[in-house]
């Protein structure tokens, strides 16, 4: 049964490999064809375990498909295609190759039927995403990539610890819903949450993504966090803790995004915020909420990809990244501006965009469970999202005061990619049933009721009002805001340096002590034994004889006493 | 060498006496206290006195080093030879009984020879030592 299956992840990886070998037209063709082939393969998969392989004495379930896995794989493949199109002419071959392998890892995670293969693909993602960050070149990217890699390898190891422990204690390697009990499941959760960018370990996202190349950040925005969301759906549905974590993430994202100046950092924080919504959905754990989380992930990938594409286009055309240095670009980049606005509306759940139909499902899920507080918070957060992502990003970048720059529109492939994504945002928003059909559980939810639409519009209106009222406060942010990343930006290096200093001190102290001891030893013990020392130096004959007699006297005296 | 008249006269007077005494000790060793070792030393003492008083050249004149060397070896040879002879004669090592026809004669002969060997060697070696000390002084 396993013979006829094309593992989608494998196709993607082969594509990645070939991209690194081929050049020119063939490479371009491959870039566009690989995700599509993968997509085809994804939809060829039936449900259940389709491919297994022996490893570490276990039988791995390399490909196991079901609805939610297919959903995520689909959007990953689509995103790879859009990203590939966006990056087609601009990115280096190694960035594309790494990005595709990264996507392959993400798709592999989607279909991993057991913990071990899940982990293997998980690590692949971590490595390849590091390469994507590094591909941007430059020192900032190097350092950010390094921190990123270290943190993710750390998360990977935690996950590994958890997985090994779980396998050892339960005897099964199956990837299945878990109960939070014991070290192992906590470690697994922790490992996944690091990838989901849950505070306080969320800082890597705003640290690393903005340092990637324009196309790199598009890829990055899609896979890592959403793979974590999928993992949580598969392993921790209905874990109450996730509601709390999700809410924290939502507000953390909003607050930092509001304080932030760098446009891509704003978007990075908004990822945290959006993933927070999904986590809340998973934490609620009802079919409705899980559907909502999955749908939101799907929608989110598209509009966040779109936003990063527009930000990337601006960056590429202007070379500027700070909001305070940008502005007035709508005049020369109208298409980009429109796309950015579409994305911004989608993220703010504006009716008739994808965000509206997915985010409201989560809220509905909360309402169904009579989680009033959660519902209120989610609603308030929607306003916050509109503030930072829906208005702040497009306003400061494209409108505001005129920066005087008149950059051209980006190349055709970027424009095509942006248009594709913008179209998808609106298409899903207008015809939600297509997306709903893909969701894991049957959907009996109608987003477009009058009350719902009006409520949402009111909310957005007041939020928009608030933004322009508070505009003076918004402008002052020229600095980089301090985040939990000081932990590894400042504290860890400081600790390391302290350790190294201590180490050197200890070393010196030991050396010093050894030195003194050896001097003493030399003087008291070794020196007399030198050829000129008193023990060795030729004694006069008389002294020798006297010595002998003394020894004799001593011995006799000893006996006679 | 500066000549010391009194010393040389006394020496000339003493040396024969000492030599005579040496021989007495040598041959009396058979019966009473004495023997080859002591006799050899006394003999050598006489020669050493001659050496001290009259100088190396004079002494060497009548007791050449070569002779002494042969003497030293010869003495040992005599001593060991007697032992081997007793072995060959069918007895044990230094078993003088078998050296002559009867045991008493054999004892006499054996002891006489052995003591002679010892005496010769000791005297020769002592004199050689004295010679070499003398020589060293001159070399330097």
């Amino acid at each position: 049964m396993t013979d006829l299956v094309w593992p989608p992840a494998l196709l993607m990886l082969i594509g990645a490999l070939l991209i690194s070998v081929l050049r020119g037209r063939w490479q371009a063709l491959l870039i566009l064809a690989t995700p599509l082939c993968t997509l085809w393969a994804i939809w060829q998969l039936g449900d259940g375990v389709l491919q297994s392989a022996p490893f570490l004495g276990y039988s791995l379930e390399l490909v196991e498909a079901d609805r939610v896995r297919r959903l995520f794989a689909t959007i990953f493949a689509l995103m790879a295609f859009a990203g590939g199109l966006y990056a087609l002419r601009q990115a280096s071959w190694y960035e594309l190759s790494a990005a595709y392998a990264y996507a392959g890892g993400a798709i592999g995670v989607c279909f991993a039927g057991d913990l071990i293969s899940f982990f293997l693909f998980w690590e692949l993602m971590a490595l390849c995403s590091t390469l994507v960050i590094w591909s941007a070149g430059g020192d900032a990217a190097r350092r950010a990539g390094l921190r990123y890699a270290a943190l993710h390898l750390l998360g990977g190891v935690l996950l590994k610890l958890g997985i090994v422990g779980l396998i050892l204690h339960s005897g099964s390697i199956d990837l299945r819903p878990l109960v939070l009990a014991g070290w192992d499941s906590w470690l697994i959760l922790l490992g996944i949450l690091i990838n989901a960018a849950a505070p306080p370990l969320a800082a890597w996202i705003s640290d690393a993504y903005p340092e990637a190349s324009p196309s790199g950040s598009v890829f990055l925005s899609a896979f890592t966090t959403k793979a974590a969301v999928l993992a949580l759906i598969l392993m921790f549905p209905g874990t109450q803790l996730l509601i709390v974590v999700g809410l924290v993430m939502i507000f953390y994202g909003i607050i930092y995004a509001l304080l932030e100046n760098d446009m891509r950092r704003i978007l990075a924080y908004s990822i945290v915020n959006q993933v927070g919504f999904m986590l809340v959905g998973i934490g609620i754990g009802t079919e409705m909420a899980l559907n909502g989380a999955a749908a939101h992930a799907f929608a989110h990938i598209i509009y966040k990809g779109l936003l990063f594409m527009t930000a990337g286009a601006v960056l590429m055309q202007t070379g500027k990244r700070r909001c305070s240095e940008l502005g007035g670009l709508y005049q020369s980049m109208p298409l980009t501006t429109i796309c950015a606005i579409v994305g911004a509306l989608a993220i703010s759940s504006f009716p008739f965009t994808s965000g509206f139909i997915s985010k409201s499902m989560i809220a509905q899920g909360a309402a169904d469970q009579h989680l009033a507080l959660v519902w209120y918070l989610l609603t308030a957060a929607s306003a916050g999202v509109f503030l930072h992502a829906g208005i702040k990003f497009p306003w400061f970048v494209f409108f505001q005061k005129d920066s005087g720059m008149r950059p051209a529109e980006p190349p055709w492939n970027m424009r095509a990619a942006m248009l594709l994504m913008a179209f998808a945002c609106i298409a899903i928003g207008c015809a939600p049933s297509a997306l709903y059909a893909l969701l894991p559980y049957p959907v009996a939810y109608v987003p477009y009721t009058a009350g719902h639409v009006i409520t949402q519009l009111q909310l957005l209106l007041f939020a928009g009002l608030a933004f322009f009222v508070m505009l003076p406060w918004m402008k002052r942010t020229l600095t980089i805001s301090l985040d939990a990343d000081w932990l590894y930006r400042v504290l860890v290096p400081a600790l390391l340096h302290a350790w190294l200093r201590l180490w050197r001190h200890i070393d010196d102290a030991i050396d010093g002590a050894l030195g003194r001891l050896s001097t003493l030893w030399q003087r008291l013990v070794v020196a007399p034994h030198r050829p000129s020392g008193w023990i060795v130096a030729s004694w006069t004959t008389g002294a020798m004889a006297l010595g002998v007699l003394l020894a004799l006297a001593l011995l006799i005296w000893r006996h006679l006493i | 060498m500066k000549s010391h008249l009194i010393l040389s006269i006394v020496a000339k007077f003493l040396i024969p006496l000492v030599l005579l005494f040496a021989f007495y000790v040598q041959f009396h060793g058979d019966f009473g206290p004495g023997g080859g070792f002591q006799a050899g030393v006394i003999f050598a003492a006489a020669v050493i006195l001659h050496l001290l008083v009259f100088g190396h050249a004079a002494t060497e004149h009548f007791i050449p080093t070569a002779v002494l060397k042969i003497g030293a070896a010869l003495g040992v040879l005599i001593y060991a030879g007697v032992g081997v002879a007793s072995l060959l004669a069918g007895g044990r090592y230094l078993d003088y009984d078998v050296l002559a026809d009867n045991a008493v004669a054999g004892q006499h002969l054996g002891i006489l020879l052995v003591e002679a060997g010892v005496g010769i060697t000791v005297a020769a070696v002592m004199i050689l030592l004295a010679y070499s000390f003398q020589q060293r002084g001159h070399d330097a």
Partner: protein, 485 residues
């Protein structure tokens, strides 16, 4: 061939080859042919031995009896068979590599170099097959002495100084601690035979057993557990083929191999479990793992960095062995192999860079990935093995070490693994970034000579292959834990 003859040939083939090398002194090509042939034959016989062993033949060879109860004898057990195959197997690429290296560097005394290399391999085989502690000790010392001429091969002042540290530490620890520990063991147990389940149980008070174990762990200086680690960085004055095979595989693995043998066959894991002090040695090894990684962070010289990384990785194995759980022992055995593949690749790459570009510092590696893609790709795989990331051999072994730590309820080990993984990433990844993501500078140059390239690519490939096809090795190391109930 009878198993005994096979064992003897494992031991003697390198020596015979070495002798023939000396005879072929004046004909470099013939000499190198002999070298490669010898390595290949040694590998074949080690492999044959392994197969014999897996068929369940009793492989025992009594060579000679020094004193009653004190004999030189060999007996194959799983770990030893593995070690023998590993060392001789890696000798083959190393000999190729060494030929390329020495030729390219136009080194003097090449015959002498190859000869001592043969002797060292023979000693390694002796260690691998040793049937009792005395035999092991004898070959351990032979290995120390025979590698000295290799370490000081260059012959300048620095080499002599490094060699002195090397020899001093290794001999002082082995004579000052290992030998007394061995004597003590003999005195207490009346034998030195490696016996499944150990020979000390019930014969030594736990407190004293702790002391004895400490003497063993520190006495085996080759395992480089701190504070006995200083020889390893010092030995980096050696030509790279030496650092590669000896200080990534043969010598250091002989150290951890000895510790493993002592733990499994002298103490017995069951008995050692009752020894309280054993925990502290786990802590010591864990400390070494972390501390050496931290020191590696600030190294700029590639080989020194690799040396500290080796120290860290060795203590991994020691730590896993001392965890005493069956899975941890399996992990220790696997890690011996995995680290060997990875580290030898790294050293090969370092040497190739030295030969082709005359660079020795990490800070000089900018853009090396463009200039020497094969070399640096191999280096990357080696680095991933060190970190333990799939798809590399290190992943497999660390997996089992983690599992073993769970089995033994040693959360300390887990913490060490977490921390060291992050640290390893911190000192390995910047090198990769430099090599691949920076523009090359300086004079253009190509790859190192082909024998070196073949060697390093093959070991890198082995490292990846072990990730996928580790079943035979796993089976072997599993049977090791079968010997340790």
């Amino acid at each position: 061939m009878s198993p005994q003859l096979l064992m003897l040939s494992c031991l003697c083939l390198p020596l015979v080859g070495g002798g023939m090398l000396l005879l072929a002194h004046r004909r470099p090509r013939l000499r190198e042919l002999i070298l490669v042939l010898t390595a290949a034959l040694s590998f074949t016989s080690a492999l044959a031995l392994l197969l014999q062993f897996r068929e369940g033949n009793l492989l025992r060879l009594d060579l000679l009896t020094l004193l009653p109860g004190l004999d030189l004898m060999f007996e194959i057990e799983p770990l030893g068979a593995l070690f023998a195959v590993l060392a001789s197997g890696l000798w083959l690429p190393t000999s190729l590599y060494a030929i390329g290296y020495l030729r390219a560097r136009k080194e003097e005394h090449q015959t002498r170099f190859h000869f001592w290399f043969c002797v060292a391999i023979s000693a390694t085989m002796g260690i691998a097959m040793a049937g009792n502690l005395l035999t092991l000790f004898v070959f351990y010392e032979v290995l120390t002495l025979s590698t000295y001429p290799l370490v000081t091969h260059i012959g300048n002042r620095g080499a002599v100084r490094g060699g002195r540290v090397y020899l001093g530490v290794l001999l002082a620890t082995s004579i000052g601690l290992l030998l007394p520990a061995m004597l003590w063991t003999l005195h207490v147990a009346g034998t030195l035979q490696f016996t499944a389940g150990g020979i000390l149980e019930g014969k030594l008070a736990p407190a004293l057993a702790g002391l004895l174990l400490l003497m063993f762990v520190l006495g085996v200086g080759k395992a480089a557990v701190m504070p006995m680690h200083r020889w390893l960085p010092a030995a980096m004055v050696a030509p790279t083929p030496v650092s590669a095979l000896l200080h990534a595989v043969a010598v250091v693995k002989a150290g951890v191999f000895t510790i493993t043998k002592v733990v499994v066959y002298i103490f017995g894991t069951g008995f050692l479990g009752t020894v309280p002090a054993q925990r502290y040695l786990v802590y010591l090894a864990g400390f070494t793992v972390i501390a050496a990684s931290v020191v590696a962070l600030r190294q700029d010289n590639i080989k020194r960095l690799l040396a500290y990384s080796t120290i860290s990785q060795l203590s991994y194995i020691v730590m896993a062995t001392l965890a005493l759980a069956p899975l941890a022992l399996t992990g220790a055995g696997l890690h011996m192999v995995a680290h060997a593949f990875g580290k030898i690749t790294l050293f090969f790459a370092a040497g190739a860079i030295y030969v082709a570009a005359h660079r020795t510092q990490v800070s000089e590696l900018d853009g090396m990935g463009r200039r020497m893609p094969w070399t640096m790709a191999a280096f990357a795989i080696g680095a991933l093995t060190m970190i333990g990331v799939p798809p590399s051999a290190g992943f497999v072994s660390k997996w089992f070490i983690i599992a073993g730590a769970y089995q033994a309820d040693l959360y300390f080990v887990l913490a060490v693994i977490v921390l060291s993984t992050a640290l390893n990433a911190f000192y390995m990844l910047p090198i990769l970034h430099r090599a691949f993501f920076r523009a090359p500078e300086g004079r253009a140059h190509g790859e190192a000579p082909w024998p070196m390239r073949v060697a390093l690519v093959s070991t890198a490939a082995a490292s990846v292959l072990m990730f996928f096809f580790h079943a035979p090795i796993l089976a072997l190391t599993r049977s090791l834990t079968g010997a340790a109930p």
